[in-house]
């Protein structure tokens, strides 16, 4: 294998974000900052029932309310949609069945938000309430009640069971087995920006939708299908996005509603979700119940992992088909597994739909596995870091389920957090109430296949060079705060020698930019990075050729760097080089690049799901302090080392690690979507659904490890999702080190900790009596 050689330069630099100034001075435009002349404001009526037949909807009174311009019901756009083509099970507005409290039923456009709000109360909906299925157990026990008619068998969205090698034999022969049940609570993304969409239709019937989405291309496709417009008539633009984390990677009702209302009224229409509505749109972390066996042989090597997983999906599929696979397929590194089996079932329930939250599908099983691994290692008296080191899967290796791992810096990650936390001298020795815990993880850098099968590139980049020296990059990729637009500038500067500040990025506008599939599965930097590099190389060759002809040297001797083009006997500005090249070309200088999907994954049904061109690796050590009288605990510090292949911009990578660690710790500490008996989500607000403040966030020490991946752009792999995973099990393992209890249910509420401490004390008292 050869590793790409690259010079130090713009790639790898701590370059400030290109959209930083606009974000710093308040001038950056987010969806709700868009105001168009004659714009209407729309609001959506939602079902107060968790499961109800809709017998009729009467909008007459609302339609005649002063200030109301149009009403909309589902029958006007009944086509079903969904982000995955095999599970189209949603309607923008329900026609005959409301499936959770908050499901969308009707919509009103008016001169202002308040008028629309008031008109909603005049809509009469005739509901026939039905029993609601709110848990996996109920949904499986009552196949006769359908949460979602798409389910072929009962209420099952998807069931997968795959066995790699003889698991039961390995368990039977094991030296130590941990067999426990772990429960992961549902949580949500809670981006600070609520969803917002604005639509406009021009005189030729061209529809433009500005939306706070991380998947403009899929939104364009679904708008076209549902509204019956050719895709060429639908333009989706993603303005600046105020946080997403997977919560904006489905098509949402508001996009269809604003579009249809704009078509009906001929006026621009906006919908801005309230915070409450963001909670109903949800698509967050699936609650999972995991019945896990981890078996070790006498040397502490993992001989079998067996995981039976129940996934609470909510009312719609979203990415659920993928979730059911990811829950099993993404667990098979960074450790070697002798054998492996997973049995994963995603079930529809009458609650807001779950979907892809940062670390989609794999955060929950990772928690269960990393704690179970500790529990099993403890039986053999093996140090938690040692057992992870001993089971390291290595590089250039195929996992037990046939995924190809290329680079793997996990050992270095482990070493860094071991040293930084002073593990050897402190683990098990911090005294009562304080402890250290470790965990590792692996994550994908994009998936091998697009969500709809096609032979076209997953990502394209168009590059234009102007005779002024200005470079324009057209990229369909969504910058959702992670900084891909900045990386594009750095790549242009790296490859063509222009000043990165002379690069304009035109992004995420389906009319102007080539297709990119969206910001999900940690695919953006990897795929658009490679596409951009390819486009840049083509233009750089033309620049070198033109400069070489002028300077009388070989193209290979021309250096493009720091805003100049230089040969052995002369130098010129980048703009002059562009002019020479444009003259030589006889046309505008432009090029394209693409990321083409390579065949990857195991040769079995589902073997491509979770197959990625490169995997990132992470190790965390957490230090916690537990107040044994109250159960209140805090994370004093989290050390996180992440192998991102190559940090194209270390500042941005650190930001992704820190944000991931924060979000993982938050799930361990406090976050949970809680419902009452009728399926009503408790407290859909940022007061009742608590996300950590600065004072609740642990100190985070983020370390970058570079393993120089042969497939990634300049060796880069993902950084945005992987580093979330180990935070939760590292904390759980640290709590065990602190006070000898195993917390197997999220969140780690103090009352649960206190209960476990009471049980521990009772056990100890019991064993003393026996002694």
């Amino acid at each position: 294998m050869t590793h790409p050689v690259h010079r130090p330069g713009h790639v790898g630099a701590r370059f400030p974000k290109v959209d930083g100034a606009g974000k710093a001075d308040g001038s950056g435009v987010y969806a709700d900052d868009i105001r168009l002349p004659r714009m209407l404001h729309a609001k959506i009526l939602r079902s107060p029932h968790a499961n109800a037949r809709i017998r009729g909807i009467d909008v007459t009174l609302a339609a005649s309310y002063p200030g109301v311009v149009a009403t909309l019901v589902g029958a006007e756009m009944p086509a079903k949609y969904g982000v995955i083509p095999w599970t189209h099970d949603e309607q923008a507005l329900a026609t005959d069945h409301a499936r959770f409290v908050g499901d969308e039923v009707a919509c009103v456009a008016a001169v202002d938000e308040r008028t629309a709000d008031e008109a909603l109360r005049l809509i009469r909906v005739d509901y026939e309430p039905m029993p609601a299925l709110l848990t996996v157990e109920d949904a499986l026990a009552h196949p006769e009640i359908k949460v979602n008619e798409r389910a072929k068998v009962g209420n099952v969205t998807k069931h997968v069971e795959l066995e790699f090698g003889p698991v039961d034999d390995a368990v039977a022969r094991a030296a130590a087995v941990c067999h426990q049940v772990y429960e992961y609570a549902g949580s949500t993304h809670a981006p600070i920006e609520p969803h917002c969409a604005v639509a406009r239709v021009d005189g030729d019937g061209n529809l433009t939708v500005w939306s706070s989405t991380q998947i403009p291309h899929y939104v364009q496709r679904e708008l076209s299908r549902v509204l019956g417009l050719p895709q060429s008539k639908v333009r989706v633009i993603q303005p600046l996005l105020g946080g997403a984390f997977g919560g904006k990677s489905d098509p949402f009702s508001l996009e269809f509603c604003v579009a249809k209302l704009a078509m009906k009224t001929g006026r621009p229409v906006k919908i801005l979700f309230t915070r409450e509505e963001v909670f109903y749109a949800h698509r967050g972390r699936h609650p999972m119940r995991m019945d896990v066996k981890v078996a070790l042989d006498g040397d502490g090597r993992i001989s079998a992992v067996d995981n039976k997983i129940h996934i609470d999906g909510g009312a719609y599929a979203s990415f659920g088909l993928v979730t059911a696979y990811y829950a099993g397929q993404l667990l098979t590194g960074p450790y070697r597994f002798g054998t492996y089996r997973f049995d994963s079932t995603r079930v529809y329930t009458n609650k807001p739909p779950c979907g892809p939250k940062r670390g989609h599908g794999s955060v929950q099983p990772r928690f269960a596995f990393e704690v179970a691994l500790d529990e099993a290692a403890e039986q053999l008296g093996i140090d938690p870091i040692e057992v992870r080191r001993r089971n390291f899967i290595g590089e250039n290796v195929e996992t037990v389920n046939g995924q190809r791992i290329t680079s793997n810096g996990f050992l270095k990650c482990l070493e860094l957090v071991e040293e930084a936390s002073r593990w050897t001298e402190r683990h098990g020795k911090l005294g009562p109430g304080r402890g250290l815990g470790v965990a590792g993880s692996m994550y994908i850098s994009g998936t091998a296949y697009p969500v709809y099968p096609n032979e076209m590139p997953q990502s394209g980049v168009l590059l234009k060079l102007d005779r002024s020296g200005r470079v324009t990059v057209y990229s369909g990729a969504s910058d959702i705060g992670q900084g891909v637009n900045t990386l594009l500038c750095q790549i242009c500067a790296e490859e063509m020698g222009c000043d990165p500040r002379d690069v304009t990025v035109v992004a995420a506008d389906t009319d102007l930019t080539p297709v990119d599939l969206g910001a999900y599965s940690s695919r953006v930097t990897f795929m658009v990075g490679l596409a951009a590099r390819e486009a840049c190389e083509k233009l750089a060759d033309k620049l070198r050729a033109a400069v070489a002809a002028k300077l009388g040297c070989a193209p290979a001797d021309v250096r493009l760097e720091l805003g100049t083009a230089a040969g052995p006997q002369g130098t010129m500005s980048f703009a002059e080089a562009c002019q020479l090249a444009e003259a030589a070309e006889g046309a505008t200088l432009a090029s394209t690049g693409g990321y083409r999907t390579k065949k990857l994954g195991g040769d079995y049904r589902g073997g491509t799901i979770g197959a990625s061109p490169a995997y990132s690796f992470t190790a965390h050590v957490a230090e916690v302090e537990v107040d044994e009288e109250t159960g209140i605990w805090t994370v004093r510090k989290l050390w996180a080392a992440h192998d991102c292949g190559k940090a194209l911009n270390p500042t941005l990578v650190e930001g992704q690690i820190e944000g991931s660690v924060y979000m993982g710790a938050a799930e361990a500490q406090m976050e949970e979507m809680i419902y009452d008996r009728s399926g009503l989500l408790f407290g859909p607000s940022l007061l009742d659904y608590r996300i950590p403040t600065s004072l609740d966030t642990p100190e985070i020490d983020a370390r970058i490890v570079e393993s120089d991946d042969p497939n990634g752009p300049y060796g880069a792999k993902e950084a945005g999702e992987g580093p979330l995973h180990p935070a939760i099990p590292a904390i759980a393992n640290a709590i065990h080190d602190a006070c000898g209890i195993r917390i197997r249910q999220l969140p780690f509420y103090p009352q649960r900790i206190l209960q476990l401490l009471r049980e521990r004390d009772a056990r100890r008292a019991g064993s003393e009596r026996v002694a």
């Binding site: 939602r46 107060p48 029932h49 409290v101 938000e113 308040r114 709000d117 609520p194 801005l272 309230t274 915070r275 409450e276 009288e629 109250t630 159960g631 406090m670 809680i674 009452d676 009728s678 009503l680 408790f682 407290g683 859909p684 607000s685 007061l687 009742d688 608590r690 950590p692 403040t693 600065s694 004072l695 609740d696 509420y749 103090p750 009352q751 206190l754």
Partner: protein, 328 residues
């Protein structure tokens, strides 16, 4: 975003004008910092047409004064929470109040919120501080628009929780409230200020304004401390709060008051502590106060933090707070 109903904002320039406006507009409500009433208005919890905004009364009602010779401390109702947290007099004489104020909500809300607003904070419940849609999906409740209580099955009296952090401290310190209405003014001890009715938990008449809090001078000599239990270290309302004030002479208890909030509608002064007078102010006293609080206090599901756990940790928190007050 969530929209407000139409309300007229009246902007009086004096206390007299303010109470006259309250009297003239039945159903009018006061707007001071707005940190509680504006969210509640967005939630459709009040049917008011008029808000009487008190910002114009700042000159009149924003002060911390010490009245000599008794040293009574007078706090204007429009002092912001942040001012009280930082005020040198408050820090020196009423440190538990400064502590409580510093832990209310977050920095912006402390700059906006006022002492009067905190003392008159509407009671809170997970079933009522929600949007109109949410409450309608629930079927509404006793406190607003409905007839059922979702906290106490079959309950006929609203048990929404007193969630103000200044109330337990001021109750423990023996403070009084001075109020003004068109009928004149009155001064009443805070024990008599709160009612055990979550729909309206103060004795204030609709046209009556809390203008001042008076804390007896001897409060400054009390050993005092406040504790707030909350899930996040900022922003959150209390899951429990408590304040203790102990008079101690030569190591013995001379007086003792312990108040626990965030239970039901009225902050609860722990009763029957007189027998502790004369006992040594020590660890055993702290344990005993914890036991008594545990016996008398029953947290409910009106707050979204496990009531069983809140009750379980109460004696621990009381003990620690007492020890902190005693500095032992």
């Amino acid at each position: 975003m969530m929209t407000l109903p139409a309300v007229d904002v009246l902007r009086p320039r004096s206390v007299a004008e303010a109470v006259a406006q309250l009297a003239a507009h039945p159903g009018a409500r006061l707007l001071a910092g707005g940190t509680d009433i504006v969210p509640n208005l967005k939630y459709g919890m009040y049917d008011t047409q008029h808000l009487v905004a008190l910002r114009g009364l700042s000159r009149e009602l924003r002060y911390v004064r010490v009245e000599e010779p008794e040293g009574e401390i007078r706090l204007g109702a429009l002092c912001t929470i942040d001012e009280l947290a930082r005020d040198a007099t408050v820090q020196a004489r009423l440190p538990a109040l400064a502590e409580a104020c510093a832990q209310i909500a977050g920095p912006q809300l402390r700059r906006m919120g006022t002492l009067g607003g905190n003392l008159c904070l509407d009671t809170r419940c997970v079933y009522v501080n929600q949007t109109y849609f949410w409450r309608s999906a629930l079927g509404f409740c006793l406190k607003k628009d409905g007839t059922a209580c979702h906290v106490v099955a079959g309950g006929q009296r609203c048990v929404a929780a007193a969630s103000n952090d200044t109330a337990p401290v001021l109750l423990a310190l023996g403070a009084s409230a001075r109020t003004v209405s068109p009928r004149g003014e009155r001064v009443l001890p805070l024990e008599e200020f709160y009612l055990a009715d979550g729909v309206h938990n103060t004795v204030l008449a609709p046209d009556e304004l809390l203008v001042e809090v008076r804390v007896p001078g001897q409060a400054a000599s009390l050993r005092q401390a406040f504790h707030k239990l909350r899930m996040r270290a900022a922003i959150d309302f209390p899951a429990l709060n408590l304040a203790v004030a102990l008079g101690v002479t030569e190591g013995a208890v001379r007086s003792v008051r312990l108040c626990v909030g965030a239970l039901a509608a009225r902050p609860a002064l722990v009763k029957g502590l007189d027998d502790l007078v004369g006992r040594p102010a020590d660890r055993r006293l702290a344990d005993e106060l914890g036991r008594r609080a545990h016996k008398q206090c029953r947290p409910l599901t009106n707050i979204g933090v496990d009531p069983g756990w809140r009750r379980e940790v109460l004696p621990v928190l009381v003990r620690r707070t007492v020890l902190r007050a005693l500095a032992v």
